[in-house]
Amino acid sequence: ACGSSSDDTPSGGSGGLDKVKVGAIPIIDVAPLHLGKAKGFFREQNIEIEVINTTGGSVAVTGVVSGQFDFAFGNVVSLIQAHSQNIPVKAVTVGNASTGKPGEDFGGVVVPPDSPIKDAAGLAGKNIAINNLNNITDTTTRASIRKAGGDASNIKWTELPFPEMPAAVMSKRVDAAMVVEPFFTIAQNQGARVVAYNFAEAIPNMTVAAYFATEQTISQKADLTGRFKTAMDKSLKYAQEHPDEARQVLQTYTKIDPAVAAKIVLPAWPAEINRESVQTLADLMVSDGLIKEKVDVADILP
């Protein structure tokens, strides 16, 4: 694939690189982006990327819409929400996905070691910490509770940043917490017990996040978008195939303890967005009241 960069369009000019800004949260999920940058996969496509830290999905959407980023990383629920508010954003390629294997995923619901809660169904009516209300974590947690036969209607959600969750669970300030890596591992190291792998259980092989851009960028800079997608896909593939390098690259942009980094479960970085999972998610959002009208995800997927 290295030589195939010759189908360059005039946009590049005299061999100049396209400078592209990508907004991303400094978490494990975006390891391929950093890895791809380090490996020179973007440069191969005549793209020079600058990764700009964001603090969450809505900032990323805002940044993309205001033109501050060309592309950004965000979870699909945020994208669907934005779309339902008529914000013209569209996914470019996959961001990350659940491993699809309950028992070995990069996030789940943990409880204190001596908790009476044994499984997802036991979470019904409990106080659960999540990072963002009305987003992917609570939607999938609800789904997995329902799948386990529990009642998901009267759960008390508590918004809490992921870093605070292990402490909150261990000190029993909440009954359970939906955490992702590295805090998933940290919590388990401290003795917390996993009762649900909601990403894996709710929807099979669920796509969690995507790299996205505005419709305008996608249509007007089709070539650039294409090259970005190519480089990104290569990076995803490489990261999926070289987990150790992915773990190493974490040290360049996060502060995760190397000992922890070695133990964490990495998310899946598949080649394609699982369209079906996204549609299921969108439907769940309607039934959970996150959005008012049914969304056809074809509108936001590439």
Partner: protein, 282 residues
């Protein structure tokens, strides 16, 4: 050295009534003129705004009614926020004035505490939230504490300054007349520091509102700040703008309340100041 006072009742001029009406009109114009003009400008400029994040003012105002007045939000969100704000603010007043009087009264205590206080004050409150959560969980207690942790500094430090500046002659007067204990604390120390304390209150109030919002970014499930952030996250931009508007309005109303309180509590001070400014020459 004679004291002049300008409060001199004189004959009313015949045109007084006309003058009063004109003055009231002018006052109204002065108070409302610019705000109305600015709103009008905003209205016109945003009238056919295509920018997603800057909806037309007309739309925002229309939504305001729906979002805040015709829903349960006033009770479910605004009220809890205000309650937490007032709890935090109230505690900050008690703590700030109490500690301030203590620290201000004793030079050694002040020297001992000052660097630590300066240090703690300089730590941005949002950074402290995780620490506070360790100790206070994340219920209302935590949020009240967040508000408190920010509000207490302006009050504390202003009180310290005010207490330090208590007039020596007054202090001696109290000693001579055997005014001690609680009477001294109230009639001399607190009263004499009260102008500074109120300055502190005013600063603390604006900090408090900000922290009310910030505290609701963590572990909240209701509140004005929480709503605004939810609106923002779910891209309900018009609703978000109504929240900002409401926040500004609340801030303004609370500031007015405080001003009224100040006017009552410190009328002696404004009188004194005015006297000194106008014609007290000593």
């Amino acid at each position: 050295m004679s004291a002049h006072s300008t409060v001199r009742p004189g004959r009313r001029s015949p045109g007084a009534a006309v003058g009063t009406v004109a003055r009231v009109l002018r006052w109204i114009a002065a108070v409302l003129g610019l705000p109305v003009a600015l709103l009008a400008l905003w209205w016109v400029l945003s009238a056919d705004s295509e920018t997603f994040y800057l909806p037309p003012l007309a739309e925002i105002l229309a939504a305001f009614d729906d979002v805040w007045l015709r829903s349960d939000r006033l009770r479910a969100d605004v009220l809890p926020s205000l309650l937490r704000l007032s709890a935090g603010f109230g505690l900050a007043v008690v703590l700030g004035v109490g500690l301030g009087v203590l620290i201000g009264s004793f030079r050694r205590v002040r020297a001992f505490c000052e660097p630590v206080l300066e240090f703690l004050r300089a730590v941005p409150p949002p950074v402290l939230v995780p620490v506070l959560m360790l100790f206070a969980g994340f219920g209302n207690t935590m949020k009240v504490l967040v508000v408190l942790s920010g509000c207490v500094w302006p009050i504390l430090l202003n009180t310290v300054e005010g207490v330090r500046a208590v007039d020596e002659v007054l202090t001696d007067t109290c000693r001579c007349y055997g005014i001690r204990g609680p009477a001294r604390l109230w009639h001399l120390v607190v009263r004499s520091a009260s102008p500074q304390i109120v300055t502190g209150l005013r600063q603390a109030l604006s900090v408090g509102i900000i922290l009310m919002v910030i505290s609701e970014m963590f572990a909240a499930n209701n509140g004005l700040g929480f709503s605004i952030i939810q609106f923002q996250r779910t891209f309900a931009v018009t609703n978000m703008w109504t929240g900002i508007l409401l926040l500004g309005l609340l801030g303004f109303l609370l500031a007015v309340l405080l001003r009224l309180f100040e006017r009552r509590a410190l009328h002696w001070y404004s009188g004194l100041r005015q006297f000194q400014r106008n014609d007290g020459h000593r």
